[in-house]
């Protein structure tokens, strides 16, 4: 890292909007920043009102560079969300926002970083990890990977169809889903971590993303399972 990274605002045009779950929308944005980025990174989004008032927030990128020149964001419509509210209620194809980034070298992965890759996600924390799985499938299918995913319900699990299809189709990838608000509700626990690690073997890279509470619990469980803390990278949101 000898050259300093400089982030500037670039226009981005909405090219697709699709509901993924009752609360989460996939938003695809065409932007010249989307030529090259690493799985797991995020972008800053800036919206500007008629009178010049601005708001900005950070969103993880779900996509990987694929030649389309677009980013896919997965935005959860939070109650009172100033920017997420615009995405969930207003955004339509052709709208323009501003982006800068991609940002975040620490919470990102590419094949040369190696594996096996142990991923743990709570709720919408799955988005940057989905990008890592997409990158793996695109270019490094030989690297083993496992995803522990805690969602409230199956209906609220983001990209569940894609993840289950990958679990069926991709040798070396296993999905370990648990739901916390359905029959047989269960939170992430030592047995789930043990099951993922039994399939995966000792991980070489670990990424954990979700709420503070989820990340704290999952980090402790994974360290208790014998993984060196220095292998673990975390990203937390909310309170």
């Amino acid at each position: 890292m000898t050259e300093p990274v400089v982030f500037r605002w670039h226009p981005a045009v909405v090219t697709a909007v699709e509901a993924l779950t009752p609360w989460v929308k996939s938003v695809r944005l065409a932007c010249d920043l989307a030529k090259s980025y690493r799985a797991g990174q995020h972008v800053d989004v800036r919206l500007t009102a008629e009178d010049g008032y601005r708001a900005q927030r950070s969103y993880s990128v779900a996509s990987v560079p694929d030649g389309s020149g677009t980013f896919e964001l997965m935005v959860e419509g939070l109650p009172d969300g100033e920017v997420s509210g615009w995405f969930s209620e207003v955004a339509a194809v052709g709208d323009t926002v501003e982006l800068r980034g991609p940002i975040g070298g620490s919470f990102s992965w590419d094949g040369p970083d190696g594996g096996p890759l142990l991923l743990a996600a709570g709720g919408s924390g799955v988005v940057p990890l989905l990008a890592m799985l997409r990158r793996r499938a695109q270019a490094y299918p030989e690297i083993p990977a496992a995803l522990i995913y805690s969602a409230r319900t199956r209906a609220e699990a983001i990209a569940l169809a894609e993840l289950e299809a990958r679990d069926r189709a991709e040798p070396g990838f296993s999905l370990h889903l648990t739901t916390t608000r359905e029959d047989r509700a269960r939170r992430v626990d030592a047995d789930l971590v043990a099951a993922a690690m039994a399939r995966l073997g000792p991980p070489g890279r670990v990424f954990i993303c979700g709420s503070n509470r989820f990340v704290g619990t999952a980090s402790d469980l994974i360290v208790a399972a014998g993984v060196a803390p220095g292998l673990i990278r975390t990203e937390r949101f909310g309170a």
């Binding site: 400089v6 708001a55 100033e82």
Partner: protein, 201 residues
């Protein structure tokens, strides 16, 4: 560039005046860090001042707790856009730390170094005159490990990534030397009122 249909949620004027540009007010206390909380044992904890590689002086936890204490009340601002108002911190000011070490700052810059191998750079002038401390209490209680306890650097007039969690020492450097996030594109200084989030801002 106007975003179609975006109105925004304006802050009341008394809130707006306290919010640096691009920030929003939160009542929560979000947590941001690069990895798991490091295990920090007070029995072996030490806080060390260094000039380059050379140790100048160090304190055990008991010795550190016996140093003069400073309280601070006010607002903190994170580069990820949240600000939190009316927070209360207590610890040892950098002025008192240098006085206890019996030295003046040997250089104009330093790196705060942490138990998780995080580091961040700050000009020494920004740490003197009561503007910064090594905090050991939040709202009168020991700082929870999630928020950087047992001790974190506390520099509230800069973005909060400069307030290194789980700090174990200050290393004086001849030049302004980029720390962990600064090597990854974050601003060398980080003034929230000038919105210095990233290099080039």
């Amino acid at each position: 560039m106007v975003t179609r249909g975006f109105v925004g949620r304006r802050q009341p004027p008394e809130t707006g005046a306290r919010l640096p540009p691009g920030q929003y007010l939160t009542q929560d206390f979000p947590i941001l860090q690069i990895g798991p909380n490091p295990a920090v044992d007070l029995a072996t904890w030490r806080f060390t001042l260094r000039e380059g590689a050379r140790p100048i002086t160090s304190w055990t936890w008991a010795e550190f707790e016996a140093l003069p204490r400073t309280a601070w009340h006010g607002d903190i601002h994170c580069v990820t856009k949240w600000s939190k108002f009316d927070t209360d911190w207590e610890g040892v000011s950098i002025d008192d730390l240098l006085a206890a070490a019996g030295i003046a700052a040997p250089t104009g810059y330093l790196l705060a170094e942490s138990y998780d191998d995080y580091s961040t750079n700050v000009p020494v002038a920004d740490l003197l005159g009561g503007r910064a401390m090594v905090a050991t209490r939040y709202r009168g209680e020991p700082i929870h490990p999630d928020h950087g306890g047992p001790a974190r650097l506390f520099v509230p007039h800069l973005y909060f990534w400069k307030s290194a969690k789980w700090v174990k020492g200050l290393r004086f450097t001849q030049e302004d030397t980029a720390g962990y996030w600064e090597l990854r594109g974050y601003h060398m200084y980080g003034d929230p009122w000038r919105e210095q989030r990233y290099i080039g801002d």
